[in-house]
Structure formats: C-alpha cells, structure tokens
C-alpha cells in the first residue's frame, strides 16, 4: 500500500512534460479563440456600430477576409472544451454546472451567428430576407462575446457558491448571481470591446484609401474604449475589494504584462497611423496575449474563485495515462492542423508578407 502511494506521488518526467503540453494547448486554444473568434465577433460588432453606407462595405470586406477561416476560428472553442473535460474533469464540472445559464446564452448566440453568417452569404436568392440575416448576425455578434466575457468574469468574481445540497441555497444565489453582477458584466463589455478592436485593426490591412482611414479611425476609437473599460473593471474590483483584483494588483508579472501592453499601444497607434497592416495585426495579437497572460497568471492554477475559497484547475486532474495519451494526441493533431491552418491563411492573404498591397477587387 505504502509503496503504491509513493509510486503515485512521484510522477515520471514523461508525465510532467505531457502535463505541460496539455496546459500549453489549453491556453493556446483559449488565446486563439479569444483572438481569432474575437476578431470574428468584432466584425459583427463593427458592422452594428457603422453607418448605413458602411455596413454593406463592411459585410463584403469581412466575407472576403474571414470567409475561408471562418469555421476554423470557432473550432478552437470546441478544442478548448474537449481538453478541459478530458484533462481537468473536476474543474470543468464546476464551470459547466454553475455557469449553465450564461453558457446556454453563449450557445444561443453562437448558433444564431453561425446560421446568420451562412445564410447571408449562401442564400441562393438575394432579397429582403438579407435584412433579417444581417440584423441577426450583428446582434448575436455583440451578445455572444458579452456572455462569454461574463462567464469568464464569473469564474474570477468570487461570487460562485459551491454546494452539495442544492435545496440549502436559493436558485438565484447558485445559478444567477455569480455571472449576473457588475464585475462580470464589465468583463463581458471589455471582451466585446476587445473584439471590436481586433476586427477593426484587422480590417485596416484589407482596405484602401478612404475606407482604410475609416477603419483606422474605428480601430483608434475601440482602443480608447478598451483602455477605459479595462480601467473601469480594475477600478470597480479595487473599490469592492475583490480577491482577484487585489491579487492582480499585487502580482508583479500581471502588472508588468498590463503595463507592457499599455506601452505597446504607442507603436500600435503608430502602425495604425502608418496603415501598416502586418505590424498592426502583430501588435494586436501581442495585446491579447499580454492581457490574457495577466488575467490567467494572477491566479493560476486557482482559476475559480468562490465565496469561500479557490479551486485549482489541477485539482482532480485526469489520471496519468489520460494526460499522456491526450498530450500525444495534441502534439500529433497540432502537427497536422497548425501547418494546414497557416497555409490556409497564407493562401488567402490573411498573413501577408509586407509588400505593396495589390488592388483588391470590391464585390
């Protein structure tokens, strides 16, 4: 017995490596979903807040730019969910039980959006129904990231009540308050603004002349909104003495990451001003990476904060054999998918070598 226990506590090097592989892919998928999926949501948000004349232009540009990778962007969410349930079942169990309602709303948004996107681009007859597809697309593009952000905010809000006896605590306390609060809502708005920022920044490189200036302006506006909202989130958390925000403000690495992202706004703005498409995209990606790093690093691995304590994502981690097989699957799968995806983006000019941009046909 004693021997067996000792055997379980001493993990092999192989296992440790595979755990890191699994963790890497977990956060890599999260990052790519926030970045690519976010740019996608943002496209609808930018369209929603555009003047009537610009909407059609926006729609066509988005289709040209996003069309080929549109589906791939959203599969990162599935990959993330699947990794979570395989490798971190106990952690995933809490998320999926206590955030049932906001996640249902996210799904509703994703469904509406996906369907509206395909309908407005694949309907054989172009007629009045387009108006409805467009409305549905824009509105769900705004709602989905707000609920996604609210769900993420809920995990860190410190409002979750874990219980074994569900009759003891009211429905609202368990299933509503954790995500239906000011902090979570602000986080949701923050993510929506981030999406708008990503989309407008991405579109700068896809357009020319007058239109390009339009997206540059939009990108600048979304950046300002983003910085203000980020400040409000932190300030609100500071005022209400939230555990996460207190720890965030005391964490050297998180603060450095946020400061660095603030400093990097200067070259980003310069790149926007110079309408340098590749650099703006690069800086935009770095911004997301830094913000995510700051948010996750503060509390890793305790990525659920409840009213009474914290839950580590490594608690109740899957057995060694599962982690090892998953790690190998992810390396093999990633080895096939990532080059394919890169090639896809390159073929359709989403990743461009900085040469003078050829004239894009406007359809």
């Amino acid at each position: 017995m004693a021997y067996e226990q000792a055997d379980q506590s001493v993990k092999s090097l192989n296992w440790i490596i595979m755990l890191y592989v699994v963790l890497f892919f977990t956060f890599f998928s999260l990052f790519l979903y926030v970045f690519l999926g976010g740019a996608d949501f943002g496209a609808g948000i930018v369209e929603l807040f555009s003047s009537r004349d610009n909407r059609k232009l926006n729609r066509d540009t988005i289709y040209k730019v996003m069309g080929p990778v549109w589906e791939a962007n959203h599969i990162w969410l599935i990959i993330l969910i699947v990794i979570l349930w395989i490798a971190f079942p106990a952690y995933f169990n809490i998320i999926i039980i206590y955030l049932h309602i906001p996640l249902t709303l996210v799904l509703l948004g994703i469904t509406m959006r996906g369907v509206a996107f395909i309908f407005r681009h694949y309907d054989a007859l172009v007629g009045e129904s387009q108006i409805w597809y467009n409305r549905m697309f824009r509105i769900s593009s705004l709602i989905t990231p707000v609920f996604l952000g609210m769900s993420f905010g809920a995990l860190l809000s410190g409002e979750i009540v874990l219980t074994e006896d569900y009759s003891e605590v009211s429905f609202a306390d368990i299933f509503l308050h954790p995500w239906l609060n000011v902090f979570s809502f602000l986080t949701g708005l923050f993510y929506a603004a981030l999406c708008g920022f990503l989309a407008s920044t991405l579109l700068i490189g896809e357009t020319e002349g007058e239109v390009r200036r339009l997206y540059s302006k939009k990108s600048a506006i979304y950046t300002i909104v983003l910085v203000i909202l980020g400040g409000v989130v932190l300030f609100y958390g500071f005022l209400t003495e939230m555990v996460f925000v207190k720890d965030f403000l005391a964490n050297f690495y998180s603060l450095s990451a946020v400061s660095l992202s603030a400093i990097l706004l200067i070259p980003l703005w310069k790149a926007i001003k110079e309408e340098h498409s590749l650099l703006t995209r690069f800086y935009a990606a770095v911004q997301i990476l830094l913000v995510l790093f700051a948010a996750v690093h503060t509390h890793f691995p305790n990525l659920i904060i409840t009213q009474t304590g914290e839950v580590s994502m490594l608690e109740g981690i899957a057995p060694d054999s599962v982690i090892e097989v998953l790690g190998i699957s992810l390396i093999v799968g990633g080895g096939i998918i990532l080059p394919g995806l890169f090639h896809l983006m390159k073929s359709f000019n989403m990743i461009r070598i900085p040469t003078p941009t050829p004239k894009n046909e406007q359809n």
């Binding site: 699947v82 490798a87 049932h100 799968g333 073929s347």
Partner: protein, 433 residues
C-alpha cells in the same frame, strides 16, 4: 415530468437534429467531388453547375452541423455533468481525435469553397476529398465514444471512481466497429436516397431533367450501394448486441419470455403492463437464428431482468421495427436502381422516379429510429451497467425552460434550412445552361 425527463428530451431533440446535419455534412462532399471530377474529365458545364450547387449545400450543412455540434459539446456537460466528470477522461481520446479531424475538415473546406480559380485544379479537387474523408473520420470517432457507453471498457470502478484508465482500450471497445460501420453506411444510404429523391422529384416536374439526372445518378449510386450493404452490417450489430446487451436485444424484439428456438415478432402492439405483444406476426425460431446464428439457441427475455433495469420496451420495439422495415425497402429500391442500369426503359417510366422521390425522407427516418433503438434501448443506464442516467443529470432545476428554448431554436433552424434548400433548387432550375 421531472428534470431528468426534460434533460433526456433535450438531448434527444438536439442529437436528433445534429445527426441529420452531420450525416449530410459528411456524405454530400463525396457527391460534390464526384461531380467535380466529372467536370474536370468532361468539361461539361452541367457538372460544374451541379458541383457548385452541391458545394453550397455542403457549406450550409457543414455550418449548421458545426454549430449544433458545438452546442452538443457543451450540452454533454451541462445536462450530464456527473457523466462527463467520470467518463470524460476515459472517452477523451476519440473526442480529441474527432476535434482534430473536424478541424482538418474545416481547413480543407476553407480551401475548397474559396479555392475556385485560385488553387491548382488538382489540388483544389483533392481538398474536397479531404473534406469527405475527415468528415467520415469524425463521424466514426464520435460513434466510437457512443459505443463506449454501450460497451464500457478501459477502466475499473473503485469506490465510485474510474481508475486504471486505458484510453486506447476505451476507444477500441467491443462495440465501436459494428456501431461505426452501421452508422457510416446509414449516413451514406440516408443521404444518398434523400438527395437522389429530391432530384428525382425535379425530373418528374421536368425541370432541367438533364442536370437532375446526372445528380440523381451520383447520389443514388452511393445510396444504393450502402443500402445493399447495410443488412449485413445490421446482422453483425444484432449479434453483437445479443451478446453484450441482451436486455436491449430483448426490448428491440419485445421478447419477454426466455426460451429456446425463440420466434421473431413482426409488427405487433406492445402491452407493457401485461408484458405481452398483441396482433403480431411470429416467425418461428427466427430470433434465435438472427441473434446467435442457431435456430435453437436460447434468447433471454425481458422477464429475466430486474424491473429497474428495463428500458421502455414499446418505444424501442417500434423504433427497431421502423428501422428494419425502412432498411428493407431501401435495399429493394437499391436493387431496382441496379436493375434499371440494364433495363433502360424503366427510366422513361414515371413510376420509377416516383419511387425514388417518395423514398427521399425514409432513410433519415430510419437513422432517427436506429438512434432511438441504441439510446433508449440502453436506458436506464447512461454507461451500461456502470452509471445510471439519473445519477448523471445536472442538479440545476428548471430544465423545462432550457428544453423549450432549444426546441424553438432548432425548429426555426430546421425550417430555415429547408427553406434555403428550396431556394437553391429554384435557382438551379431557373438558370440557363
């Protein structure tokens, strides 16, 4: 109804939709690449038009399938959190591989849809092939995860915890091959007949018959071959179920009394109260033979199982009968198609086209019925003999509302997709050439 019932209904409802989208999404690409190949070989414009029309269908079904699949990946956890907590790591391997296959499909589809006149012709065509292959691969992998629920393997249960997990053994469980084979053939048969039927109907209406005849030929070939192979795979499945899940087999056949040389019931009304089947046609010894390949073999009846381990017998029995009945019809229709290759005169007979037009929805009814057999037939277990469905359900009350929400959204979705398809056909018929 209780929370558990609503959870089950919601799962059944969403899966019922997803299975249609997924089947079409995984089979249509094959029709598309065959038509595409014919265009490359013959340069007849009719094939280019057909390819492009089918490509739109593929895109629409791929996205609806992907979206409903995303919803399902969440729903598994949202409705059955305890199942996912324990089973998630065990069946993670097919799911993670499925994720990868699905991703490959999405990338290939991106190349295919947007690659016209941009990619080298052969490479472009090849990306279509990859769409098809990776689609079938994801289907097989997902079914393997479902097979594990019927035939759990690759772990031990100690104090309610799943330990000694072997993901590879779980993936390659006893049921995975028969189930995957049966489902894949079903997808090809159902989609083949559905698409062929739609085109047969257009031929009857005399709208662009030359185009619709080419379309019919491609779709029915896949459908007919699959429909002819399906009975063999069904036999494998039945023998497998007889051995692994005798109670499911007994429910499928509404077989109450254990006995040797058991008869096979065709039709009949199940009286669950009195445990008997009325108004049936009984074929002597046939059940023993079909289940064990021996006319005198003993087949265990429902009465020999504890009451709290019995699935709803009537539903399973009717669904099974529906599936087998339709399967037989489709096999005959498949034969009719192959005979018509010799007897060309049949093609001028409107009855021939009516036959296929009327068969159009049947394959999918059979697919749904088969799904009911495997899922309802496993009740009350979510993991056969290991975990009950009632132990897996979410503690969150009020699933009623969630159920109604999903019903509304999915019905709207289905209606809109049907309406869109109708518009595709209209445009196809209207265009010149």
């Amino acid at each position: 109804m209780e929370n558990l019932d609503y959870a089950r209904l919601q799962m059944a409802f969403t899966l019922g939709f997803h299975i249609i989208f997924a089947c079409i999404g995984m089979v249509m690409p094959f029709f598309m690449v065959v038509s595409h190949k014919k265009w490359l070989n013959t340069r007849k414009p009719v094939f280019l038009k057909l390819t492009k029309a089918w490509q739109k269908g593929v895109a629409i079904f791929f996205v609806t399938g992907a979206v409903s699949g995303t919803a399902l990946s969440f729903e598994l956890g949202m409705l059955w959190p305890e199942f996912m907590k324990h089973a998630g790591p065990v069946i993670g391997m097919p799911f993670s591989l499925e994720g990868a296959a699905f991703f490959v499909e999405a990338i290939a589809l991106g190349f295919y849809l947007y690659g016209w006149n941009k990619l080298p012709e052969k490479f472009h065509w090849l990306t279509g092939i990859i769409v098809g292959i990776s689609g079938v691969a994801s289907g097989i992998l997902v079914v393997s995860a479902n097979a594990w629920m019927n035939s759990p393997a690759g772990f031990d249960v100690v104090n309610g915890e799943f330990v000694n997990i072997d993901p590879v053994a779980a993936f390659l469980n006893d049921a995975w091959f028969t189930q995957a084979l049966h489902m894949t053939l079903a997808a090809f048969a159902a989609t083949g007949f559905a698409v062929a039927g739609i085109h047969a109907f257009q031929i009857l209406r005399n709208k662009k018959p030359e185009l619709h005849k080419e379309a019919f030929k491609i779709a029915i070939f896949f459908g007919a071959v699959a429909a002819l192979l399906q009975p063999l795979s069904g036999d494998l499945s039945a023998k497998d179920v007889a051995e692994r899940q005798p109670v499911k087999l007994a429910a499928m056949e509404a077989h109450y009394e254990t006995g040797k040389a058991a008869p096979l019931y065709v039709g009949g009304i199940v009286d669950e109260e009195n445990r008997e089947v009325n108004y049936k046609l009984a074929i002597p010894k046939a059940l023993s033979f079909l289940a064990f390949g021996d006319f005198d073999a003993e087949v265990k009846g429902l009465n020999d199982f504890p009451d709290d381990e019995l699935p709803p017998v009537a539903v399973v029995h009717y669904a099974f009968q529906t599936m087998v009945g339709i399967g037989t019809l489709m096999m005959i229709a498949g034969l009719v198609y192959f005979i018509s290759l010799r007897k060309r005169s049949w093609l001028d007979n409107r009855k021939y086209w009516w036959l296929f037009a009327l068969m159009s929805p049947l394959g999918f009814i059979a697919v749904e019925a088969g799904w009911v057999v495997t899922e309802v037939g496993r009740q009350p277990w979510i993991v056969y003999n290991i975990m009950k469905t009632s132990e897996a359900v979410t503690p969150m009350p009020g699933l009623k509302y969630s159920f109604y929400l999903y019903v509304t959204v999915y019905l709207a979705l289905a209606l809109t997709v049907a309406w869109l398809m109708n518009r595709q056909i209209k445009v196809l018929n209207r265009s010149i050439g």
